[in-house]
């Protein structure tokens, strides 16, 4: 019975695709994974996607600014994030995929602070959470 239930659950969740507003594969290149360590310059809290601008120092010592695509600010705000949640100067590590145009744009599949904390986690106050609901 347990196995059967799990299958049902898996099917249901799979059938509800968590698509973003555009086709991912049209914008980013899965064959170009990257890992960037740098400093936040600014965070564009804009729709349909937020964008983190970060300065990354290359092996040659040259600093290049990258733009990292993130989630919709409306949802982030409801989860408790504000425009101050990612202040300029924050040191972060981004793992993601470069844009297909091979520019210094990428999608961040995960973002962590230099000390290992996951970006955004711990800030969430879910509306449906009876323990954190005001």
């Amino acid at each position: 019975m347990k196995t059967k239930l799990f299958v049902l659950v898996g099917l249901l969740l799979t059938a509800a695709p968590a698509w973003a507003h555009h086709a991912f594969a049209a914008e980013f290149d899965q064959s170009r994974p990257l890992k960037l360590k740098g400093t936040v310059v600014k965070w564009e809290v804009t729709n349909p996607h937020s964008w983190i601008h970060m300065d990354v120092k290359g092996d040659d010592g040259k600093v290049v600014t990258w733009m990292i695509e993130g989630g919709s600010p409306n949802n982030l705000y409801r989860l408790g994030f504000t425009k101050d949640s990612l202040p300029p100067g924050s040191e972060i590590v981004v793992e993601g995929y470069q844009a297909k145009d091979q520019s210094t744009r990428a999608v961040g599949k995960s973002v962590t602070f230099a000390d290992g904390r996951k970006l955004f986690l711990g800030l969430q106050a879910r509306e449906s959470d009876p323990e954190t609901k005001k």
Binding site: L5, L8, V9, G10, L11, L12, L13, T14, A15, A16, P17, A18, W19, A20, H21, H22, A23, F24, A26, E27, F28, D29, Q30, E44, T46, N47, P48, H49, W51, G70, G71, S72, P73, N74, N75, L76, R78, L79, Y97, A99, K100, D101, Q102, S103, R105, V107, G108, K109, S110, V111, K118, F120, L121, Q124, R126, E127, S128, P130, E131, K133
Partner: protein, 349 residues
């Protein structure tokens, strides 16, 4: 781990009770069924607006994990049992807690259990795009589409030919220019407005009523439907709009909306002569029962209907100014140009 993401069990129970009654409420039935269902909530009387209409006003969500069409594996099974629904909620809680507690995104990074490993995208939990992070309108349906089949009916031969021609024409030109991209990617129109279908995130709407009008704003992607309820007819057939022309009327506690006059550019599944009927019935303080029927004899071999609960949420609707930073559109087109250059270089070698 606890039930922190899913509201109290009492709330869940109310939704379960509501949806237990859903089989008697198949879309298309008259209001008496809905009214009968509503009266089962003995302690609750539907509120009225100042001019005496049922009050549907507020900020709501239709966020759900229920798919539009029933997965093949659940063919013939229209509802989950209580135990299965509980298992579903438990599974979702565990999935999200696993991401948080271990600090590890799921292997496919999409946040969707069972999604293909190459479905590379954000860690949805981290970026606030996981459905389970927002309030969900839980219900026992295995698909939004009602009935034993739970799927969109077969296309007519005419529609199959027309859509195949369109696909053939578009093939190889998907990224030629902005006009080739979907209305959604262009921030113009999306298929979650008429009918009111859930969208992956920001699946919220606000209803405001004035004398003779009901306005429904969907957060994504910034559209407000202004629906007259004063008995006026539809606009002339020659005037066609992306979301059609909606007129409404009240049947006891139910707002019935009739929508026609869609363009052939409608974002809804490529249909050309859509006719939609929607029914919104306040079921209790926190719930609207939403039912819709879609028909287009040139498109589908028969009409089809769906229903889902819409649940009240706190707060306000936020602006979703999709155009303000739609960098993905330009990025996508630039990406296509780079791919073309590379293909040309490769061919020249």
């Amino acid at each position: 781990m606890n039930s922190r993401y899913f509201g109290s069990m009492a709330t869940l129970a109310v939704v379960v009770v509501l949806m237990l009654l859903a089989p008697a409420l198949a879309a298309g039935q008259d209001l008496s069924a809905a009214a009968k269902m509503t009266t089962t909530h003995k302690a609750w009387t539907p509120p009225r607006t100042a001019d005496g209409q049922p009050d549907l006003q507020g900020v709501w969500t239709n966020n759900t994990v229920t798919p539009l069409e029933r997965p093949k594996e659940l063919a013939g099974k229209e509802f989950y049992t209580d135990a299965e629904l509980e298992a579903l909620a438990k599974h979702e809680r565990e999935r999200l807690s696993r991401i948080e507690d271990e600090g590890q995104p799921p292997a496919n990074h999409s946040g969707v259990e069972g999604a293909p490993a190459d479905d590379v995208h954000y860690d949805f939990s981290q970026f606030g795009l996981d459905r389970g992070q927002s309030k969900l309108a839980w219900n026992r349906r295995t698909s939004i589409i009602v009935g034993p089949e739970g799927t969109i009916p077969t296309l007519t031969a005419e529609a199959r030919t027309r859509l195949a021609e369109l696909r053939a024409k578009a093939k190889g030109h998907e990224f030629d220019g902005p006009e080739n991209l979907t209305l959604g990617a262009r921030c113009l129109a999306r298929p979650n407005v008429v009918p009111l279908l859930p969208t992956a995130y920001n699946s919220n709407l606000q209803i405001v009523q004035g004398t003779g009008y009901v306005a429904i704003e969907t957060e994504e992607i910034h559209d407000v439907r202004i629906i007259p309820t004063d008995g006026r007819p539809h606009i002339p057939k020659s005037v066609r709009q992306w979301y059609g022309d909606s007129v409404g009327h009240w049947e006891a506690n139910t707002l019935v909306i009739d929508t026609t006059n869609f363009t052939d550019l409608s974002p809804f599944r490529g249909a050309q002569n859509l006719h939609m009927i929607e029914r919104l019935t306040r079921a209790d303080e926190d719930t609207i029962l939403y039912q819709f029927t879609v028909e287009d004899p040139g498109m589908w071999t028969k009409p089809w209907s769906g229903e889902l609960p819409i649940t009240k949420i706190d707060g306000q609707l936020y602006e979703y100014a999709c155009h303000e930073a739609n960098y993905p559109l330009a990025n996508t087109l630039r990406g296509a140009r780079v791919a073309e250059e590379q293909a040309a270089k490769k061919a020249a070698k």
